[in-house]
């Protein structure tokens, strides 16, 4: 499929050039791309889920390699894989359970995609997950034989040549793809609306006359604060500007436009001001499985200051930022060094940098990292679109969203080769 491939290449290029700002946009675009990949993927009669998974993995691998630091890409790829597995599972259970449901769903299948059935595939999957297969160690162990069983049944179904069965099969294959696309659409919708869902909880966390500190700009934080403002809470916000990107200025402008009392401070003033702050609310780049946060640079400092003064450090983030990986040395391995020109003008120190002398090492290095790692012990609370959680609960949420098979995306092709 050349058109899909060109889409993928296009997106890979964008990721490589860091053209896509923010994990939310990245997540949405990844999901959209994967949706088109799935929809264009030709489904074989046998092992439909496996074919879809392979296709998604192949694309996902390219995307992740394009920007390994942007964890949202990997998260979405894994989410889509998980969706495929779930849909496949729910179809199988439905097929085993009886033909009634599949017949009923067959009618729905002909409906417009926008006109979603009351009992969507995702809901069925969720129900199946929660009732039949609670994610536990046992489930994880059972997962593998189950999947093979599914494949076996489908392949055995393909073996039989009966007319009615073949019709059933084709409808099933179409149904799987349809259900998956449906679920991916829902995921995209979730990503798009996560701000609102998070913002709904704002009034439960912000009280009257609160003083809130934030650093840099996060759309989630902005919506969160504005939602509390709309509920007639009056409070004050300190915005640290977040050098060297100065996104705090943008946030301050947006907050002022919404009528919030906003004070812009320099990043260095965080420690001075934190003693007068009731709560720190910040956005995140990614949330790791151990509850640690990959956050815009400077937040570790803020978190330490908040801990020092016993100020709650609250991270608001959509669930697409939830990454199932455990970080190792994240300050270095999951970081990105930006251009020095943010700090020093080009050529400003050219007279000082004499590369010819000495051992050729320049005397001057400029470090401009993009992210900070905030360890879980510094985080008081996560507020996601599914509610508030402790850092220690993150691993459990991850089990809800991802299947254990997909944690390492790269391995599958390596084994296949």
């Amino acid at each position: 499929m050349p058109d899909v491939q060109s889409l993928v290449n296009d997106f890979v290029n964008k990721l490589k050039k860091r053209k896509i700002e923010g994990s939310q946009a990245t997540a949405r675009q990844t999901a959209e791309l994967l949706r088109s990949v799935i929809s264009q993927q030709r489904i074989p009669y046998t092992n439909q889920a496996g074919a879809l998974i392979d296709a998604v993995k192949a694309v996902g691998e390219q995307l992740i390699a394009a920007n390994p630091v942007e964890l949202a890409v990997g998260n979405i790829v894994r989410r889509v894989l998980h969706i495929i597995r779930e849909e496949d599972l729910s179809l199988t259970t439905a097929a085993i359970g009886g033909m009634n449901i599949s017949a009923a769903s067959d009618d729905d299948e002909n409906d417009d995609a926008d006109d979603r059935p009351a009992l969507s595939a995702a809901a069925v999957a969720a129900a199946a997950r929660s009732t039949l297969r609670p994610p536990s160690l046992q489930t994880l162990l059972e997962d593998v034989p189950d999947a093979t069983a599914v494949h076996h049944t489908s392949s055995s179904g393909a073996d039989s040549e009966g007319k009615s069965k073949s019709a059933d099969k084709s409808s099933r294959s179409r149904k799987l793809k349809h259900d998956v696309i449906e679920a991916v659409n829902e995921l995209i919708q979730d990503i798009a609306t996560c701000h609102e869902q998070i913002a709904e909880q704002a009034v439960e966390h912000i009280h009257q006359n609160e003083v809130i500190l934030t650093l840099g700009r996060s759309r989630t934080v902005m919506e969160f604060l504005c939602a509390a403002k709309e509920k007639k809470r009056s409070f004050r916000v300190f915005v640290a500007e977040g050098a060297p990107r100065y996104q705090g200025h943008v946030l301050a402008k947006e907050l002022v436009a919404r009528g919030l009392q906003t004070t812009v401070i320099t990043d260095s003033a965080v420690f001075a001001m934190i003693s007068r702050v009731n709560m720190v609310i910040v956005g995140a780049h990614a949330i790791m499985a151990n509850g640690g946060v990959i956050a815009p640079v400077g937040l570790n400092m803020v978190a330490l200051a908040a801990q020092r003064h016993a100020v709650p450090f609250v991270v608001v983030a959509g669930s697409h930022k939830l990454c199932p990986l455990y970080p190792h040395n994240p300050e270095v391995l999951l970081n990105e060094l930006k251009s020095p020109s943010d700090l020093l003008d080009f050529g400003e120190f050219s007279d000082c940098m004499d590369f010819g002398s000495g051992n050729g090492e320049p005397l001057l290095h400029v470090v401009n990292p993009a992210f900070d790692y905030v360890p879980p012990k510094l985080v008081s609370l996560f507020i996601t679109d599914t509610g508030g959680h402790n850092p220690s609960y993150m691993y459990r949420l991850i089990a809800d969203y991802y299947s254990a098979d997909d944690l390492v995306i790269q391995r599958k092709p390596a084994v296949g080769n």
Partner: protein
């Protein structure tokens, strides 16, 4: 009287009191015994000279050590005291029998006071006559080279690494009656404590008694002492104060308790001074800018017309929040009309205002130089006394500087020292002498408290730099720069991480200087401090002041850096001269602080695209807060390197207390 002269021992000032009024400036060497880590600092102080440096340093007994006699036969002869720092040349009157002697008096609190006395015994001079003192600074030249970036280097041409001495000597002849001379002179030879008389004499001077009264007082004292009567009778003549003196203890200056063999009296003197100190200890309440009436009053007086910032930050209502950039024009137009402000002071003030001079040491030195210039040009108005008028004049300068930019703690301490110096001047001293004394005191302060202190700190700090270290510094502290350069010159192999912050980016200037000198540097911004802290082995920080509870008052962001270093278990070393210590205590950065130009927040130099807030600065909801200082809690600090040695933050109150005792603050 001539035959009497040989009687007098070298150490004994053969002064017959009323003729001579000597004021010895007490200056202190640090007691070599006191805190052990300091001894290395002070060991250099022995270089002063063979004559009497050895005696005071070596001696521990609180009795006076007679210094060698110094021949002053030749009028205006140089005294052979090659004191390294200053050479005094005392001219006597033509009778040629003036005698100069010095005494080292060591008090049990570890101070040495040096009194010089000149006596013109046989010359009954009808009128008061002052002898000019010539102060010769051999190697006390400091050159201040100020870089364009506003940071400053001190190149000190000093032969001595030790604390400097400077003697202020002036002779003062007053008419007295001969009879008394004979009596007292004879007694003086027995009781070799002449400079106590001098100190005693200066006390009533301060009380603005008339000359006749003072003279009578002195004579009464001498008579009392000569007769070895209990001091109570002397006190009776003296008036109200010091009733609790022991017999042998003549009245003392409060701040320079002289030595006495009686430890009790010494203690008493100490008590008394500490009581006075205690009163002084409470820092005068700062101007609170939320007090409307006082602000109005201050505005009426002020020279610099400030416009208040439109959106003041509520939390900082108590601090002055002004708009910047518009005062300058007005000040320029006032330049030729500014009657009360001396041009030198004016210049410095404008530099403060524009931010050309920043850094507490640089500001302090600039201020002192301006004051010196102003004092040199000063003439006492006819019907006024120098002490009061000059103090008032200085106060007006100080308030002008304060309007330009709130005074730093270092400046406050320097001003206190200067005012103490002026207040200590005897009333009857001539204008020229007084000016000389004050100016040399200013020089001494700069040299001793800043220049040499810096050297000592650099020596200490360099011992903390090892090969392979990665040293992190924040902002552009001049003392830390000296440390880094010195360690580099010592051949240590290390890297420097310079952490910089908005809005001034002072670190860039430091970076440029260090890279030019060949140091390997890494430059980053304060948000990335957690990222770079992994590889750092030591953090060197400067300070604007250190408070008595061990907190470090410094450039905004220092606390963040210290906190992150603390979290990463990296030692934090703060370099700060002891003159910047302050007895105030402070817990947060809110109550005492300074607010800079708020619009510096919205503008990012070199980044034109960052202009999100340009059209929004007039919005009522938006406030811009540009804090200049913050307070680092003591538990983030591993070590404070000061001119008294390397101490933990818990020792700061000790240094503050001792320092005040010694330096008349």
């Amino acid at each position: 009287m001539d035959p009497r002269r040989p009687q007098s021992q070298p150490g004994i000032v053969s002064a017959n009191g009323p003729k001579v009024r000597r004021v010895g400036f007490t200056f202190s060497l640090q007691n070599p015994q006191s805190p052990p880590p300091f001894s290395s600092v002070i060991s250099g102080a022995g270089d002063v000279d063979g004559d009497f440096s050895s005696t005071p340093v070596a001696s521990t007994s609180p009795v006076m050590i007679p210094p060698p006699r110094i021949p002053v036969q030749v009028p205006a002869a140089r005294c052979p005291v090659d004191a390294g720092e200053s050479i005094l040349a005392a001219g006597s009157d033509n009778s040629g029998d003036a005698e100069l002697s010095e005494e080292w008096v060591r008090s049990s609190s570890g101070k040495y006071s040096l009194g010089f006395s000149m006596s013109g015994i046989n010359s009954p001079v009808a009128a008061e006559r002052n002898e000019e003192v010539e102060l010769d600074f051999v190697d006390g030249e400091e050159k201040f080279l100020r870089g364009s970036a506003g940071t400053q280097k001190l190149i000190v041409l000093h032969g001595l690494a030790a604390l400097s001495f400077r003697f202020y000597v002036f002779c003062y002849h007053s008419s007295s009656n001969e009879g008394n001379n004979a009596g007292t002179g004879a007694k003086m030879s027995e009781a070799p404590m002449p400079n106590k008389d001098m100190k005693a004499a200066s006390k009533p001077l301060k009380e603005k008694s008339s000359k006749a009264e003072r003279r009578a007082l002195q004579e009464a004292q001498r008579a009392a002492k000569a007769a070895k009567i209990a001091a109570s009778s002397g006190m009776g003549a003296h008036g109200t104060e010091k009733p609790a003196k022991l017999p042998k203890q003549p009245p003392k200056k409060k701040d320079a308790p002289l030595a006495s063999s009686a430890g009790v009296s010494e203690k008493k003197g100490g008590d008394r001074s500490s009581e006075k100190d205690k009163k002084k200890d409470v820092p005068p309440p700062r101007m609170q800018y939320d007090d409307k009436s006082r602000v109005e009053k201050a505005k009426k007086r002020s020279v610099v017309k400030q416009t208040e910032a439109r959106n003041r930050v509520e939390l900082f209502q108590h601090l002055p929040q002004y708009e910047f950039g518009n005062q300058l024009k007005e000040l320029e137009s006032k330049f030729f009309k500014l009657d009360p402000v001396h041009p030198a002071v004016y210049k410095v003030g404008v530099h403060y205002l524009t931010g050309n001079i920043t850094g507490s040491s640089a500001r302090c030195i600039a201020m002192l130089h301006a004051f010196k210039e102003a004092i040199e040009d000063y003439h006492t108005p006819p019907d006024k006394t120098l002490i009061r008028d000059l103090t008032a004049r200085l106060s007006s300068y100080i308030s002008f500087l304060n309007e330009c930019r709130p005074l730093s703690i270092s400046m406050g301490n320097a001003i206190r020292s200067l005012k103490t110096c002026i207040a200590k001047l005897p009333l009857s001293i001539s204008e020229l002498e007084a000016k000389t004394i004050i100016c040399s005191d200013i020089d001494r302060f700069i040299n001793e408290k800043i220049v040499i202190a810096n050297k000592v700190i650099v020596e200490h700090a360099a011992t903390k730099v090892r090969d392979g270290d990665v040293l992190l510094t924040y902002g552009a502290s001049s003392i830390v720069e000296m440390v880094l350069v010195h360690a580099h010159e010592l051949g240590r192999q290390f890297r420097v991480v310079i952490v910089d912050s908005r809005p001034k980016f002072e670190g860039q200037a430091l970076l440029r200087r260090l890279v030019t000198k060949g140091l390997s540097c890494t430059y980053t911004h304060i948000n990335a401090v957690s990222y770079v802290m992994h590889e750092v082995t030591r953090v060197f920080l400067g300070a604007a002041s250190i408070f008595s509870n061990g907190t470090v008052y410094s450039k905004i962001g220092t606390a963040c850096v210290a906190m992150v270093a603390h979290a990463f278990r990296v030692p934090v070393l703060v370099c700060c001269e002891a003159y910047k210590f302050h007895e105030r205590v402070q817990l947060d950065s809110i109550c005492i602080n300074e607010i800079g130009d708020p619009f510096a927040i919205t503008n990012v130099p070199g980044r034109k695209e960052i202009n999100y807030l340009h059209n929004w600065i007039n919005k009522e909801n938006l406030q811009l807060l540009n804090l200049l200082y913050d307070v680092t809690p003591a538990d983030f600090i591993s070590l404070i390197i000061t001119d008294y040695g390397m101490v933990p933050p818990t020792s700061v109150p000790v240094i503050v207390r001792e320092y005040r005792k010694e330096h008349l603050f």
